[in-house]
């Protein structure tokens, strides 16, 4: 049973984890038995973080109602997200609340003319020293690299390290142009590959580590320095500085992915907290695809050895993500075949599933055989796993697609708003659905129900888990339906 540990550092880390969770909900295949999400972010209130954790929690609760032994490998929610190793999904960063950076490092205890004081004053500006850390490091990796050093001593991190087995893999998501991600990524790799006598589990030293470094892909409003310390004009210079550091010091990673976008949207400037709520972006989805690509890589391509108690990685794989042609608005035709093979079908399937839940479920479940024969009734619709957990994932998925469509660059291959009486036209942009001569009696949601009713007897049904049956039916039903309408 192999596990893939996915460390999401900072706001970008959380957002990429959200995209990964969306892909898994839609049934995108990933070559691992389970995902272990691990978020490192001192900004507990950041909306990007809380949204991701809520989504993962909903996903896990939905999966509690799935009979794993009877599930298809490409069904919705088919990949396990592990919440046993790290139930909160977070590694806490202690003592950052209501404390300025200079208090954190104990500047007042240093003698005014000592070497330590002088060195500290040289490395950190007055603004750095007076900065609070409740909402993260506000784009200051020099602060982050000091404060984040502590996470390795937390019991949560130790629990994660102890749980790693020899056939597991680790993936790290970070941005390079902010504070938390840029500082946390090299620190994390250092902690994972540390010396034999300083680690709780020596296996961690040699398991394959992959990482994605997200280069600037958005800007923030330029406002007065007193209102926000984050200034997007520094993103490129920070990225360059960090890349120079990585080039020399980051050589213990087996696979390193880079992604960036030169078309940028300007977000509202938020230092962190509840207002740090960036809309989902295609770059985050592409970054999540890097995780899938890393999991797919044959183990023989990763060469990690211990020489003189030092971890030596040979032949680090470097990859970048590209689209077929530069376009302001990305649709499926803009993507390369390999990307489309991974996401096109599942994203379309899950969109149809979500639309059905919103627009048809109430009308159908009391009279369609696929529902009546399998106890999909009022009690099922009122259950918390349906009305809260699954509905939570569904709402988040729609919101995620809409946010990506509204962003720059826009990712808008699917249209959630196709009308009920013309469901398939324009559902996938630039792809015309096939017409059927039976269109009058079986079209739109009637055709959808027809597929569900036709398939229901083939679905392995668990006596006690209606949601298992429900998800399996819709997974197979939407697959057949879009094959019929769009031939993919």
């Amino acid at each position: 049973m192999s596990k893939l540990y996915v460390f999401g550092i900072g706001g970008t880390g959380s957002r990429v984890l959200k995209s990964l969770t969306m892909l898994l909900a839609a049934g995108v295949k990933i070559n691992t038995n389970e995902i272990v999400p691990v978020i490192i972010d001192p900004d507990l209130a950041a909306a990007d973080l809380t949204r991701t954790i809520k989504l993962i929690n909903d996903y896990v609760k939905v999966r509690e109602h799935i009979d794993v032994s009877m599930q298809s490998t490409d069904s919705f929610f088919s990949t396990k997200i592990n919440n046993e190793i790290l139930p909160s999904y977070r590694i806490p960063v202690q003592n950052t609340t209501d404390v300025s950076f200079k208090e954190y490092i104990g500047l007042s205890q240093m003698e005014a003319r000592s070497g330590n004081y002088a060195l500290t004053s040289m490395l950190f500006s007055e603004k750095n020293l007076n900065s609070t850390m409740d909402v993260g490091f506000k784009g200051n990796p020099n602060i982050g690299s000091i404060v984040l050093n502590q996470f390795a001593f937390s019991k949560e991190f130790q629990a994660v390290v102890k749980s790693v087995d020899s056939d597991d893999r680790i993936f790290v998501i970070s941005s390079i142009f902010g504070g938390t991600g840029a500082a946390g990524f090299p620190l994390l790799v250092k902690e994972l590959r540390r010396e034999k006598d300083r680690t709780e589990n020596e296996l961690v030293r040699t398991v394959p580590i992959g990482a994605i470094t997200v280069l600037p892909y958005f800007k923030v409003e330029s406002i007065n320095e007193t209102e926000s310390e984050i200034d997007s004009t520094t993103f490129i210079s920070k990225a360059k500085a960090a890349l120079s550091y990585y080039e020399v010091n980051l050589n213990e990673v087996n696979s390193l992915y880079y992604i960036a976008d030169n078309r940028n949207k300007t977000y509202k400037n938020s230092e962190g907290g509840e207002t740090q709520r960036n809309n989902a972006h295609f770059v985050e989805l592409a970054a999540a695809l890097a995780i899938i690509d890393f999991a797919k890589e044959p183990a023989s391509n990763f060469k990690t050895e211990i020489r003189n108690d030092k971890v030596v990685v040979e032949g680090t794989i470097y990859r970048e993500f590209g689209i077929k042609y530069d376009a302001e608005r990305i649709i499926f035709n803009s993507l390369h075949d390999r990307t489309n093979r991974t996401i096109k079908e599942p994203l379309t399937q899950f969109l149809l599933f979500c639309k059905y839940l919103d627009e048809r479920m109430v009308k159908s479940y009391s009279r369609q055989p696929w529902a009546i024969d399998h106890k999909i009734n009022d009690a099922f619709v009122r259950s918390s796993y349906f009305s809260s957990d699954l509905a939570g994932v569904k709402s988040a998925y729609i919101e995620w697609l809409e946010e990506m469509a509204d962003n720059i660059r826009s990712f808008a291959p699917l249209d959630y708003k196709t009308p009920e009486n013309d469901l398939y036209n324009n559902l996938i942009l630039n792809e015309r659905p096939r017409k059927s001569i039976l269109g009058i009696i079986k079209e739109n949601y009637d055709l959808f129900d027809d597929y569900l009713n036709g398939l229901q007897s083939n679905i392995a049904s668990s006596n006690t888990k209606e949601l298992h049956y429900f998800l399996e039916l819709f997974s197979q039903g939407t697959k057949k339906l879009i094959k019929k309408k769009f031939n993919f």
Partner: protein, 155 residues
Amino acid sequence: MNPFEVIYRLLVSFFGDDLADYLSGYVCPSEESEGGFLGSNHFVMYSIIALVVALVVMLVYYYAINSPKFNTWKSWLLMLLLVGMSNLLVGALNTSGNLAAGEIGECLVNGGNGGIYAYNCWMFGFANFLVSAIFFIIFSFAFKWKSTNCKYSPF
């Protein structure tokens, strides 16, 4: 008495004994014969038509159309009305035609010694409606279970 006739005889109060006798094959006495149930039994023909129409409509509804759009009791009722009305027309128009053409013996028709009016022919059509509806109901409940979309129609 054949089994089909038994069903129609249960509804004889709708269309009257005289028309029932005619449909059973009754021939009025004449110089050539003493009369009696010497003709062909029309009930068999109407029964077979009702059975076939009910069976065909049932198969079309449950297995050809077989649409989630029409798996409501209203759609099923529409099918039942289609079966019933077509049989009503077959029964009423055919017997009315027979009456108008003088094919029904004088001893049975109004104006002679009998009591068959055109009204009786339409009431026979109504009886035919009921018989065919019963056939459709029986066929529906016997064969609907293999329909993927309409197995719970009407309920």
